[in-house]
């Protein structure tokens, strides 16, 4: 019974991590590592929070304001991911470096924008975020489910998905049968940016009342961990995100459960990272990762 009572808050925390992780998985499946997920979530969260405050203040319909705020988070996340796409796909840049650059940039850009818009190092508080439904779930839980189902369907049931996976396994072979590797990788990176931006919006509109530099606090990196722990498959990634999100939720609610009070709450915070590390060691040697992930693809080069 207690577990059932916890389910809504667990799903509230799982949903954005899952949405981001699916995006990261799509990008890696196409052969581009995106460690900028954290930064892209920050950008999406800041955008959504700022947009919602401003629209709410102008007296716009509450639901419309939320939907538009999420859409803007998604859009701006997508725009910033284009930096990574150009660097990784067109310019054969080191994907870790450009991802790190975007993370650093997001740190500055989000608070800089808050300073300009609200004269403070955080966005103004909005009056009302998303509301739960009759079952106590936030809409983001359903959104995450839809994202997982669509990604599974597209990646494994449509020719496009097969092409995308081929680009991550053997881009040379994919190109030789007429697949446009660069175009597909662009779409994949853009998708990861948009999903991370959307997820950032979900975090801010369900779990807090404003954007601060601490809002995302490692969720993007947890999503990145969920991609490897979930072995680059939608079901696996969903399971990993569920596990990690539950651990995060425990860190927040453990104080209300007497039996768990003996453990420091930080134990639950650490869990996702330790579990991923152990899994990576245990599964080492068996390579589940897409074979060409992280390697630039040059047309015509062997």
């Amino acid at each position: 019974m207690m577990v059932l009572n916890m389910l809504p808050s667990v799903l509230m925390i799982v949903a954005p991590i899952l949405i981001t992780a699916i995006g990261g998985m799509i990008s890696e499946k196409s052969g581009v590592v995106n460690i900028a997920l954290e930064g892209l979530m920050m950008i999406g969260a800041m955008t959504a929070a700022a947009a919602h405050v401003l629209m709410e203040g102008s007296g716009m319909n509450h639901t419309l304001s939320l939907v538009l705020a999420l859409a803007l988070g998604l859009g701006v996340g997508g725009i910033f991911s284009l930096i990574h796409a150009v660097a990784a796909i067109n310019l054969n840049a080191d994907q870790t470096i450009s991802g790190t650059g975007i993370n650093l940039l997001a740190n500055g850009v989000t608070i800089f924008a808050s300073q300009i818009l609200f004269n403070a190092d955080r966005t103004k508080e909005f009056r009302m975020g998303m509301q739960t439904d009759a079952l106590g779930f936030y809409p983001t839980a359903y959104l995450a489910l839809i994202v997982v189902l669509i990604s599974w369907f597209v990646l494994y049931k449509l020719p496009f998905g097969m092409h995308l996976r081929a680009c991550g396994e053997h881009p040379g072979a994919a190109e030789s049968v007429g697949i446009n590797v660069k175009r597909i990788r662009y779409i994949a990176v853009l998708a990861s940016g948009m999903l991370a931006g959307l997820a950032g919006g979900c975090v801010v509109l369900t779990q807090t009342i404003q954007y601060t530099s601490n809002t995302i606090n490692g969720r993007g990196f947890i999503a990145l961990a969920a991609v490897s722990f979930g072995r680059w498959r939608p079901v696996g990634v969903a399971g990993a995100a569920l596990l990690f999100g539950t651990a995060q939720a425990f860190a927040i609610i453990a104080n209300n459960i007497p039996a768990l009070r003996i453990l420091p709450t930080e134990v639950f915070n650490i869990l996702p990272y330790v579990v991923t590390l152990v899994a990576l060691v245990v599964f080492s040697g068996k390579n589940y990762a897409p074979a060409s992930v992280g390697k630039p693809y040059e047309k015509g080069a062997s």
């Binding site: 054969n92 993370n103 740190n107 500055g108 190092d121 990196f221 650490i270």
Partner: protein, 364 residues
């Protein structure tokens, strides 16, 4: 046929170029949001020289603070740079830094209160835990083929929460700080304080200088460094020529961790008089990535880049006072790293130029 290296492809020139580009875009951004970019440069000038151009006053404290801020940037830059030379991407500087800070705090609060020995011991502890935290990554990479990028990211957060668990148990711990350190644990330097009007500049800078020298010596002058660099250039060739690649990778990650751990120790004992129970990252480790990239992972380059980052950090408060959001410095740093990623474009451009020249020569 002789082919000279184009000026734009020399590492130093590229670094200068990306830094200038970063500042250029940052300046444009400041202007776009309706602020006066000149104020940004006034703040930077004051942080660099202590000279306030608006009222003509001089305050040497700013120079001391800039130097002091540079210490962790340079050390974390060395940490990233050392690994980078072996072909590894150490995003784990932050975790190594946090562990160094944590152990220094433990020893500062619980260690023997003997002058000099006390803080020496604390800094030594910081370096040892840094070596362990980094060395684990090396072993995971060398033995189990776990990507160092993934494992270091995981270990950063393990370090953050582990540090909280540990520091909450220290004497006098509240949710954000511990009791004050005993005097013997502090690394303040009275001489520096006197000549820089009480800036926080402390004995840590001597360790930083030693670290820069050690980096240069190990990397350029020892056979250990030779093996590491060879591993970085081409792992397979290094292995084939008898260089123990597994050992190279593990040791280099451990040494890399020593630098970041030391940075954590110096911040813990030099910038604070009490232990901190941190809720978030200090970000020196992440910024160290940018420092090393700008400095091309050499001892000298990293020092210069670290001084630049220290200068920017010190200028932040001055900017804020002049209505320039201080986050512009983070934006400039992020842009610099992105431009470094884009430097591969220069290579593509060069290839294109070469191709065109060849085509002309054969008359196409």
């Amino acid at each position: 046929m002789k082919k000279k290296t184009p000026f734009l492809q020399s590492d130093g020139a590229v670094s200068v170029l990306v830094v200038l580009l970063g500042f250029l875009v940052g300046t444009i951004l400041v202007a776009l949001v309706g602020k006066n970019p000149l104020n940004m440069y006034k703040a930077i000038l004051q942080a660099l020289s202590g000279y306030n151009i608006d009222n003509g006053r001089m305050n040497v404290r700013y120079i001391g603070e800039t130097l002091n801020y540079s210490v962790p940037f340079i050390l974390c830059g060395l940490s990233m740079g050392f690994a980078n030379r072996v072909g590894l991407f150490n995003i784990g500087g932050e975790g190594q830094y946090i562990m160094g800070m944590t152990v220094a705090q433990i020893i500062a609060l619980l260690g023997p209160q003997i002058p000099v020995l006390h803080w020496l011991l604390a800094l030594l502890g910081a370096m040892v835990i840094g070596a362990i935290w980094g060395g684990v990554v090396g072993i995971l990479k060398a033995k189990y083929e776990v990507s160092e990028v993934v494992s270091t990211i995981m270990l950063n957060y393990v370090a953050l929460y582990l540090s909280r668990i540990i520091c909450l148990q220290l004497p006098g711990a509240t949710t954000y700080k511990t009791a004050n350190y005993p005097e013997t644990a502090l690394i303040g330097n009275e001489f520096f304080q006197r000549i820089t009007k009480n800036s926080l500049l402390n004995n840590g800078i001597f360790f930083m200088i030693l670290a820069v020298l050690a980096f240069w010596f190990i990397m350029e002058k020892t056979s250990l460094g030779y093996g590491m660099r060879a591993t970085g250039f081409n792992k397979d060739a290094a292995r084939a020529s008898g260089i123990p690649v597994v050992k190279s990778i593990s040791i280099s990650m451990a040494i890399s961790g020593v630098f970041a751990g030391l940075a954590g120790g110096i911040i813990a004992l030099g910038s604070f008089k009490y232990g901190r129970v941190i809720a978030g990252m200090d970000n020196y480790g992440f910024d160290g990535i940018a420092v090393a990239l700008v400095g091309n992972s050499t001892a000298f380059g990293t020092t210069i880049a670290g001084l630049l980052f220290g200068l920017l950090k010190n200028a932040q408060a001055l900017m804020q006072a002049k209505q320039i959001p201080k986050e512009i410095t983070f934006i400039i740093q992020g842009l610099i790293v992105i431009f470094i990623a884009l430097r591969s474009a220069l290579k593509l451009y060069q290839e294109y130029v070469d191709k065109r020249r060849l085509q002309k020569e054969v008359g196409l």
